[in-house]
């Protein structure tokens, strides 16, 4: 932004319509902080949808030969539950946090490509809505979230459900890929002066590695979704044995994407924990360098283990052994992280805020999930665990006990910076304890069920197998878990309206985002800060005057005084996303007219996107309220 200022005329009218009309201001949003709110709200809505799907499944499985839903509906429910939670809930909420926090942490005023950032969000939303609209348009996809062929191919899945899956994920996936590129460039180019790589907050490091994973993991998904789209819409035969194709092509391509995806979901969670634990222990992160190396190692290894999802596919002992060993190796850097978190707490002054409670809950539950992960890596033993409830237990410990708990730690931690208000600690503690207890009652028995021989994805089971007791326990736990989540929703709504006003630095924290006002102003930093070391804000509080020093030589300001040059709101990303949505329906229904309309809207959107320069606009700098330095919450 600063670099382009010189070519831009002195006076640019502000795009008033986009600022004054509330709806328009959201539709034309390019500010990373507001995009973050959109991601988090949409992610939360999809999370609740996926949660309701899970709730219905647990009701069905509470008793043998249950009759709550039919087999057909159950298969749609578990397919949509997995797809929704992974692609439309957890990942977008993580990306929401990345949007909310990352530019602030590195001292940037926005991301490298603000328009692209908006496009990423609208594409995710378009893909998610398209996929979920299948419920009302003849039935949701029903071949499982990894959608194996041949079961998902036309002779066995003749309905449109799988088309909604392919095209919905394709649209959302393009958005995610753009997010990967956008934040990589942001991290490389927009760090404030002095913010060297080895001074990056650990969250920023995990985001960096996550974005590399997105960059390399999503293309295989894109390709394989295209292969199936061609197979289903145009009769191609990539996976058909009869025509010389190979169904295992899908399995491999999917998991080459799917395993790094698991780390896309957990690495930013590690990052959040690495921010929360030091602040509430009042100590720096223990073993920063080994944490960075561990993050890199996990990212690298995540591409080397995909066959461990398919030990039962019959690749033979040699291949299985190799992938078993690489999978076990992931436990080493992960263990390093856990021990470093423990060492960070050791010798500190631990404050049991709700955010910290979530981080502690994370440590317990994630370690359990990691342990069952190592057990799963043992290929011959996995022949027993694979596709059983043991696996279901494992990945819920990692995704709920790991990622979701970290998301909660993050929301209680950064909510003040995002909204200017505090979340209630009292409701937060109800939220935490009920969720923790409910989660463990729901999912721990699933380990037992798997070992007792219960396969996943069955809509019912025979009374004679002895599965009944633990299934009842599990369903009982869901009610407690749901109550915990309900407390969060109440907390969210009431705190947004009447929450205590947040100080700039309510937690006595260490990184740059706490050096600016709560909520952060549109331009983030009135003056780009100078980073003089790791934990830059803490450093200034300890050894400076408690304020970030402005970086010299950063402002080539040609605009009116006391303004910052920022990107201009625009509807173009929304138009492109709507075009792809129209195109998606056109392809699913083989409707030529709709396809043509979609292409035309897309052409207009792309044309405007390419040939309309962004003059930006000048945003006035707000008066910073004088505030006590280092006010402890």
């Amino acid at each position: 932004m600063a670099a382009t200022t010189e070519r831009i005329p002195h006076v640019i009218p502000r795009s008033d319509a986009y600022h004054e009309n509330k709806l328009l201001s959201w539709l034309s949003v390019v500010d990373h902080k507001r995009i973050a709110q959109l991601y988090l709200m949409a992610g939360l809505l999809f999370f609740l949808t996926g949660g309701i799907e899970a709730f219905i499944m647990r009701l069905q499985l509470a008793h043998p030969n249950g009759h709550v839903v039919s087999a057909v509906l159950f298969n749609q429910l578990f397919t949509m539950h997995g797809t929704t939670m992974i692609f439309l809930a957890i990942m977008p909420m993580l990306i929401g946090f990345v949007n909310a926090v990352l530019p602030l942490q590195i001292g940037a005023r926005d991301v490298a490509y603000p328009r692209l950032n908006a496009l990423s969000f609208w594409l995710f939303l378009a893909g998610g809505l398209l996929l979920n609209s299948s419920w009302f348009l003849g039935g949701a996809p029903n071949a499982g979230w990894f959608n194996y062929v041949p079961i998902s191919n036309p002779p066995y899945s003749p309905g449109l459900g799988v088309d909604f899956y392919d095209i919905g994920l394709q649209i959302a996936g393009i958005g995610t890929l753009m997010t990967g590129i956008n934040f990589l460039v942001t991290l490389v180019n927009l760090r404030a002066p002095g913010m060297r790589l080895m001074r990056l907050p650990m969250f920023a490091w995990t985001v960096l590695v996550t974005m590399v994973l997105i960059l390399f993991a999503f293309p295989p998904l894109t390709v394989t979704l295209f292969l199936q789209t061609f197979e289903r819409l145009f009769g191609a035969q990539f996976f058909s044995v009869a025509a010389g194709g190979n169904p295992l092509l899908w399995s491999n391509m999917f998991w080459i994407f799917g395993h790094p995806e698991v780390y896309i979901l957990i690495l930013p969670a590690f990052g959040i924990i690495s921010e929360v634990v030091p602040v509430f222990s009042r100590k720096p992160l223990f073993g920063y360098t080994s944490m960075v190396l561990a993050t890199l190692a996990i990212g690298f290894l995540s591409f080397m283990v995909w066959v461990h999802h398919m030990f039962t596919l019959g690749y033979g002992p040699f291949v299985n052994s190799i992938f078993a060993l690489t999978s076990m190796m992931i436990a080493i850097p992960t263990g390093v992280k856990v021990f470093n978190w423990l060492a960070t707490m050791w010798g500190g002054q631990i404050r049991f805020t709700t955010s910290m409670l979530w981080a502690i809950g994370f440590l317990f539950c994630f370690v359990l999930g990691g342990m069952s992960g190592v057990m799963l890596a043992i290929a011959p033993a996995d022949l027993q665990y694979n596709n059983s409830y043991f696996v279901v237990a494992h990945f819920h410990y990692v995704l709920i006990g790991g990622t979701l708990f970290a998301l909660f730690a993050g929301i209680y931690y950064w909510f003040p910076k995002m909204t200017g208000r505090m979340l209630s600690e009292r409701l937060g503690k109800w939220n935490f304890w009920l969720t923790l207890i409910g989660f463990n009652i729901t999912f721990f028995p699933m380990h037992f069920l798997g070992l007792m021989g219960m396969p996943r994805r069955i809509y019912t089971y025979a009374p004679g197998n002895g599965f009944t007791f633990w299934n009842e326990v599990s369903t009982f736990g869901v009610f407690i878990l749901a109550a915990g989540i309900l407390f969060f929703l109440v907390n969210l709504v009431t705190s947004l309206q009447r929450g205590e006003k947040a100080a700039n630095d309510p937690w006595d924290a260490r990184s740059l985002e706490w050096s600016i006002s709560s909520p952060a102003p549109p331009y983030n930093f009135a003056k780009i800060p100078l980073v003089r070391g790791a934990d830059p804000f803490w450093l200034e509080k300890m050894h400076g005057n408690g304020h970030m020093l402005p970086a010299p030589g950063q402002e080539h300001h040609h605009g009116p005084p006391n303004t910052v040059h920022m990107p201009r709101p625009t509807m173009i990303p929304l138009i492109i996303a709507v075009a792809l949505l129209i195109l998606g329906y056109g392809f699913i229904y083989h409707a030529l007219v709709v396809e043509i309309v979609g292409f035309m809207v897309l052409a207009v959107g792309l044309h405007r996107s390419m040939f309309t320069p962004d003059p930006g606009e000048y945003v006035p700098i707000e008066e910073e309220p004088a505030e006590e330095v280092g006010a402890d919450g």
């Binding site: 044995v241 052994s321 060993l325 423990l342 050791w346 022949l383 002895g466």
Partner: protein, 342 residues
Amino acid sequence: MDRKRWKRMARWAPAAVVAMLALSGCGFLQGRQSVLDPAGPVAQGQLGLIESSFWIMIEIFIVVAAVLVVALIRFRARPGQTDLPPQVHGDNRLEFLWTIVPALLLALLAVGTVKQSFADTGSPLVPHSMVVQVTGHQFWWAFTYPSLGVVTANELHVPVGQKIELALTSADVLHSFWVPRLAGKTDLVPGKINYIWFQADKPGLYYGQCAEFCGTGHADMRLIVDAQTPAKFSQWVATMSHPDSTPTTALAKAGEKLFGTIGCSTCHTVGGTTFAGAVGPNLTDLTGRLMIAANTYPNTPKNLYNWVHDAPAMKPGVLMPSFSYLKPPQVKALVAFLESLK
């Protein structure tokens, strides 16, 4: 309770945990399909790995949890603390330690993993084994004994104490063969043959079910392995080799005729007759089977009647069409014929 008593009790805590786990291992986790109750060498070896890895993991978990709990109690913030705790940034020796120790523990597990991986696999042929070809269908199992010339469905008869090699493939989508008490699962892949072996040490029924999602009827694609003494197994083979399917009653004869005319025979084979359909399960030894509908319902005349009348109502997703247009006497005739198959 005074401090000493607490301490004494704390000493017993690990033993209590072990006892609880052992108890749950014996009682709560048993079942006719339980991995924890192996009945053959393959499942036994896999359980050995499960147990050894479980104990290593439990030990690590106890260490981590203990350190965490101690840290939370000892280093909790106390009112009136104004000074900062020591700002420790790391410790190379410690970080090295917790990189190396887990690596060594994992190396231990890795040895067993590789060994067992090679031991479990049946390819190309396990010496002295009997080969059975298994073909997965939506939503039932076909078993062919090439050396014996026998074909059956859903109930796999094997002699005890002998290595059985399975050659697994699929006629349609992916399935997975899983009888937890005998061996871990292996997938049935169209266009590919996977080999595994197992051995049942004692006679009995071993339950399992399809473990790779295969469509609407996936949950009802169950199977039974009937492990028999060699003598009983030979007897079964003899029966299968000379099937007796000549109906004796008039009703059964009418049923046989219907079987040919309304389309049953386009899908089903019945040994000893001209019915040779190859789409649905082979019905040669139907009266000898314990269950119908891929082991979803007991093989009783009533269930058989309902099944012939309207199979989709009993098992969602089943590919057998409904014959609800048949009149009750016709269904009764068909059931009488089916009841005569030996």
